[in-house]
């Protein structure tokens, strides 16, 4: 069984370490906040100017001055801080944010990522994605392994316009957990009931399988 979006988020949450500052992108990455392991304290950065993002507000307690980068109403947690957009990207550029989780349309075996533009379609913009991928020390991509047509999104080389080059360190897809190394994708874990062969068949980029590949457990 391929992982659900919630399970992808749950698996990524296991990469969190105590004391991490984390930037979560829009979509599946946002769900990671729901699965922060017990006993671990992380602080969420929202690039529109907040460290210490909390959950959505209770109904009736929405504050129009308090939103996240997805323009959703949010709350703060004790110990949070506000700052301007220049400082926000300053801390990102300076490598202060420990982990960035974002979605992707394509990832290459060398760690290139494409997630902002499809030629021929209305281009909405890159927002903060290019800044994040250019500077983050550790980037995990949450994505589907294939597109709706069944074609691999893990490629030798991205076909879509790039967001950043040689930056992605790890991919958690609905089928597998993979590291990106100098040699290409390295298969670390597979979704429950998904075979190594299926993952190989659905990974167009170079894929290394070293020994037994354990199943993820939930």
């Amino acid at each position: 069984m391929a992982l659900t979006k919630e399970q992808i988020a749950q698996r990524i949450a296991r990469e969190l370490k105590d004391g991490y500052y984390v930037n979560l992108g829009i979509g599946i990455p946002t769900l990671v906040a729901n699965y922060i392991p017990a006993g671990i304290q992380v602080e969420l950065q929202s690039e529109n100017g907040l460290l210490g993002m909390g959950p959505f507000p209770f109904e009736g307690e929405e504050d129009p001055d308090l939103i996240n980068a997805g323009k959703q109403t949010i709350t703060t947690v004790p110990g949070s801080s506000f700052f301007d957009s220049a400082m926000s990207f300053g801390m990102i550029r300076a490598g202060k944010v420990d982990l960035t989780v974002l979605g992707a349309m394509e990832v290459s075996e060398t760690g290139d990522i494409a997630n902002w533009k499809i030629p021929g379609k209305m281009v909405k913009g890159m927002g903060g994605a290019m800044d994040l991928v250019a500077s983050a020390r550790n980037i995990i991509v949450a994505m589907m392994h294939t597109n709706p047509k069944g074609e691999s999104k893990l490629l030798p080389k991205c076909g879509l316009p790039l967001t950043g080059v040689r930056c992605v360190k790890k991919v958690v897809s609905d089928l597998a957990v993979l590291d990106i190394t100098e040699e290409g994708f390295v298969l670390l874990e597979r979704a429950p009931g998904v075979s190594v062969e299926e993952i190989q068949q659905k990974t167009a980029g170079k894929l290394l399988v070293k020994g037994d590949v354990p199943e993820m457990k939930f």
Binding site: S46, E47, N48, G49, L50, P55, F56, P57, F58, E59, G60, E61, E62, D63, P64, D65, L66, I67, N68, G70, K71, Q72, T73, I74, F82, F83, D84, S85, A86, S88, F89, G90, I92, R93, D112, M122, V123, K124, G125, M126, G127, G128, A129, M130, D131, A134, S135, P161, L162, T163, G164, V165, R166
Partner: protein
């Protein structure tokens, strides 16, 4: 030091066709609602607008787009606006998309009196096309120039007659660095307080950067994505 003007009409009276203006805000959060309405009423056109987003169809910069007052938008994300899309596809509107951190830092550079910055955002992508690249400590960076804006229009929570500004929560966003970057900076505030009542230790934008200030009214503060949880 009295920079107080009567209202948005007076604040924007000398904004003419064809100028470049910065507008603070992230999405619809922290946008200068009063000045945008005054710009719409003034009918000024052929504007180049530097703003992280372009509003929605019936609010924010979207109101200026409806009146076809904007010739060019410089933004990082413009996804929430159907009229914007129509004008872009028909060629009426020019758009320059730049990374959000680059946008913020090009404002900051202008306010700090620095002509340019080096940033890694966009290296190896189409954003880098035609730009000078330099390598520092084995990492490539793009040369990006400080913005040159005729006017900056910002929104703050509180301000005083000297132009000192305090922002609230994430409504701060692009407002402080845009306030620093305009040749003429106009600030609208929710509450104009007497000089001396803001704690100098808590001022976010020192008044030297602000040329005109007024207390706005009728703030709608529209929420773009109302998300809640149950008690």
């Amino acid at each position: 030091m009295n920079k107080v003007v009567a209202g948005p009409g007076e604040a924007i009276h000398d904004i003419r066709d064809g100028v470049t203006i910065m507008l603070g805000g992230f999405g619809l959060c922290g946008i200068p609602e009063n000045c945008i309405n005054a710009l719409v009423a003034s009918g000024v056109k052929d504007l180049t607008c530097i703003s992280n987003n372009a509003g929605v169809d019936d609010f924010g910069i979207g109101l200026m787009l409806q009146q076809k007052q904007v010739r060019k938008m410089i933004s990082s994300y413009v996804g929430e606006n159907a009229e914007f899309e129509r004008q872009l596809l028909s060629g009426e509107l020019e758009v320059e998309l730049i990374p959000q951190g680059t946008l913020a830092t090009r404002c900051l550079a202008a306010g700090y009196g620095m002509p340019a910055i080096f940033t890694p955002a966009g290296v190896g992508t189409e954003v880098a096309e035609g730009k000078e690249t330099r390598v520092f400590n084995d990492k490539a960076y793009l040369l990006e120039y400080a913005f040159d804006a005729d006017f900056a229009i910002v929104k703050a929570w509180k301000g005083d007659a000297h132009g000192n500004l305090v922002y609230r929560e994430t409504a701060r966003n692009f407002n402080p660095m845009m306030a620093m970057a305009g040749k003429i900076t106009i600030a609208e505030v929710e509450e104009l307080v007497p000089a001396g009542s803001l704690d100098p230790d808590h001022v976010h934008t020192p008044g030297i950067y602000v040329h005109r200030i007024f207390q706005g009214s009728g703030y709608e503060k529209r929420i773009e994505q109302r998300t809640t949880r149950k008690k």
